[in-house]
């Protein structure tokens, strides 16, 4: 139990050197992965799985800020992921065209990926601010409905856009003087996202897949460190105190408004980056579709956080990996000969439904064995805090 303070009271000294070693080391490993992963693992589906796991770590880490640390129950994380995914897809595709198209090279990724992710993070963050504001007055179920509403509105606005209208965005904006024209221009922009069919770049050439292992694994590592440091800082402490008792926290000078809204924004920014990386994932599909951001996606994110242990950074990371692999393992199970034989015997058997049953069973079993999640609020690799005597 001891030592929730780990990581915040390390002795001073070669701080800068340590930082460089930490981040440099992490990024170097990611860089090596970028060049060797294709050769080391020839099966693209396994590569895809590993990249997906890294993305899901980011999904879980970002949701953990709001659901785990702040104790606000958001079930609309997919909305932020989607906003990040679509923004990154649009920005990267257009930037790719502007750079002359062609192959998505590693060199060009240093221009495209940062810019796309910055836009994704910014837009998601702004959305986080607006969704966070009602959290000041709402709690529990009511807040959950607001977040769910946000994510469903986002998804349905895109999915139900009337496609087939070939008016260009530039043309629509040129006649956007009146309020009516303005609304029209906005709707043309949304329409250009491809509706239910998904968005695949301005010329339907596909979203350029710039985010190789360097970006995905590297950012998972860097943002993991950031999440850890947020938790073990005064800010994280105040946020957890707020979760435990809002009145008492306010009575010791912690302003609930400020902390709740910032936690929403930080969580949304993280989700924006995660969604952006998923959209540009080198081993993913070159298209973003509204259905990837349905309630199931939000629910998977919640599962990751709760399975790993609400409030635990390393727990969220483990949860992200665990859920990714469990889903994949069940998929693999589907193609085994025994299951296929069963399918032939019973024609009406729906294998997808079977998958959900097994998934649910695994979750229920885990919740019975460890109701507080794999780690609870504890962390792996947590240093023991210095004993009081030593600290004095």
């Amino acid at each position: 139990m001891a030592g929730a303070q780990a990581g915040s009271t390390r002795p001073m000294g070669s701080g800068l050197l340590k930082q460089i070693a930490l981040f440099g080391g992490g990024l170097l490993v990611a860089l090596l992965l970028d060049f060797t992963l294709d050769k080391a693992i020839s099966d693209s589906s396994i590569r895809q799985l590993l990249m997906m796991a890294a993305c899901n770590i980011l999904v879980a880490l970002s949701l953990n800020v709001i659901n785990g640390m702040a104790g606000q129950f958001s079930i609309g994380h997919a909305g932020f992921l989607g906003l990040g995914g679509y923004s990154a897809a649009v920005v990267s595709a257009n930037l790719h065209e502007a750079l002359g198209g062609g192959e998505a090279t590693f060199g060009k990724s240093f221009i495209v990926v940062p810019v796309s992710l910055l836009v994704a993070a910014l837009l998601s963050g702004i959305a986080g601010l607006f969704v966070g504001l009602p959290s000041l007055r709402l709690k529990g179920d009511y807040l959950a409905i607001v977040t769910l509403g946000f994510s469903e509105i986002f998804r349905l606005v895109i999915a139900t856009a009337q496609i087939g209208d070939k008016e260009t965005i530039a043309h629509a904006w040129s006649s956007a003087g009146s309020p009516r024209g303005f609304v029209h221009a906005i709707s043309v922009m949304i329409t250009s996202l491809g509706g239910q069919n998904g968005y695949a770049g301005p010329k339907d050439a596909g979203v350029p897949l710039y985010a190789g292992p360097f970006w995905v694994v590297g950012l998972a590592f860097v943002l993991g460190v950031v999440a850890w440091r947020l938790k073990f800082s005064g800010w994280g402490r105040a946020l957890r105190a707020l979760r435990e008792d809002e009145i008492a926290a306010a009575a010791v000078g912690v302003d609930p408004t400020r902390y709740k809204v910032t936690s929403f924004v930080i969580s949304a920014v993280g989700a924006g980056i995660a969604g952006g990386l998923m959209a540009m994932n080198r081993d993913g599909t070159p298209i973003v579709q509204p259905d990837s951001y349905n309630f199931q996606a939000s629910f998977d994110a919640i599962t990751m956080v709760i399975l790993g242990g609400s409030g635990s950074v390393t727990g969220a990371a483990i949860g992200g990996v665990f859920v990714t692999f469990t889903v994949k393992a069940i998929e693999l199970l589907q193609s085994t000969s025994a299951v296929q034989a069963l399918k032939q015997r019973f024609e009406s058997l729906d294998l997808n439904a079977l998958r959900m049953i097994i998934y649910a069973a695994v979750l229920i079993a885990l919740m019975i064995v460890r109701p507080e999640g794999l780690l609870g609020e504890r962390e792996l690799f947590q240093k023991k805090a210095p004993s009081p005597a030593k600290a004095k």
Binding site: A4, S233, G234, D245, I247, G253
Partner: protein, 327 residues
């Protein structure tokens, strides 16, 4: 800094929880706020700390109007409190509970915390030092890294006071700090309250049912009943106030009258003693003399009649119940 309430009124729907209450807590005094259950004492605390906003009247700390301030801002302005039903941050360790109260004088920004700059480490270590020092004062240093819920009831109460003290408050509001404490612990609490006032130069306002503590430590007492002021004065005046006795024990046509007249006769002499005890000597002496005086008074009170001791017993019983509830 004086804490001044002027004609403060608070209604909950049709219920007048606090009606037209005015009092001034002098700087560096120990002030008692008593009254039967439901009298509105805790509501007054909630109004002062901004949990509720008063409908009429004004509350000032020094010259600062507290009405427009949010609870967190009032805490920053220098008013710290504890809660009747202990409100600790359960999942946090003992020392983390104290560190949360440092947020207001933290120098490191969120960004510098993420980058783990020198400012962040300096901040953390100076805050930890202060927290450990305070834990030492409250004899909790050895529990620093334990989860706060693992502490015993009495220690949790003390931790709440320690947490409030982290704010370096000018005014400390204690809501039933002696609930669930036995005689010895309550005596210890009395000493601690005086020590806090003298050491940290602050004003203490006390809501308490335990008369041993209230009469022993408070210099001035304000009595509420049904949200309204029924009496105000020194412990001796309050002890013998007919309205107070009636509120606590119920009215008895002749019984109350005789007791009151009895008490009136005794009051002046007791007051005189107190004044003479106050005159000589340094602060420390004063505190110790007062303590003796208080215990002597306690004896006197029990000798005074069944009613007085019944009052004490009532307080104890309540405390006992609270203790059972928590354990």
């Amino acid at each position: 800094m004086d804490l001044t309430l002027k004609n403060v009124t608070k209604n909950f729907g049709g219920l007048r929880a606090v009606g037209d209450v005015s009092f001034t807590v002098p700087d560096r005094s120990i002030y008692g706020l008593i009254g039967p259950n439901g009298a509105g004492k805790t509501t007054v605390f909630n109004l002062v700390t901004g949990v509720y906003k008063h409908d009429e009247g004004s509350i000032h700390l020094g010259k600062t109007d507290l009405r427009p301030l949010k609870p967190a801002e009032i805490a920053r302005a220098g008013i710290a409190r504890t809660f009747q039903n202990i409100r600790l941050f359960g999942q946090l360790t003992v020392i983390e509970n104290l560190l949360v109260a440092c947020e207001i004088d933290k120098k490191a920004s969120l960004l510098s915390s993420v980058l783990r700059t020198k400012v962040h480490y300096e901040d953390e270590s100076s805050m930890r030092d202060r927290a450990l020092e305070l834990l030492g004062v409250f004899d909790l240093a050895h529990t620093a890294e334990e989860p706060s819920t693992s502490l015993s009831y009495g220690n949790q109460r003390r931790l709440e006071i320690a947490r409030a003290m982290m704010l370096k408050p000018k005014v400390l509001l204690l809501d039933e700090p002696a609930a669930g404490m036995n005689y010895g612990e309550a005596e210890g609490l009395k000493k601690q309250i005086r020590w806090l006032r003298d050491t940290f130069d602050l004003t203490v306002v006390l809501v308490e049912h335990n008369m041993q503590v209230v009469m022993g430590v408070c210099e001035e007492i304000h009595v509420l009943d049904h949200g309204e002021t029924i009496a105000h004065g020194t412990p001796d005046q309050i002890r013998n106030d007919p309205a107070v006795l009636a509120a606590y024990l119920g009215e008895e046509a002749d019984g109350t009258a005789t007791l009151a007249s009895d008490a009136d006769a005794k009051a002046p002499s007791a007051k005189g003693d107190e004044a003479s005890a106050k005159e000589p000597g340094a602060k420390g002496d004063e505190a110790s003399t007062k303590g003796d005086e208080a215990s002597a008074k306690g004896d006197e009170a029990s000798a005074k009649g069944d009613e007085a001791s019944a009052k004490d017993a009532k307080g104890d019983e309540r405390g006992g119940k609270a203790g059972e509830g928590s354990s």
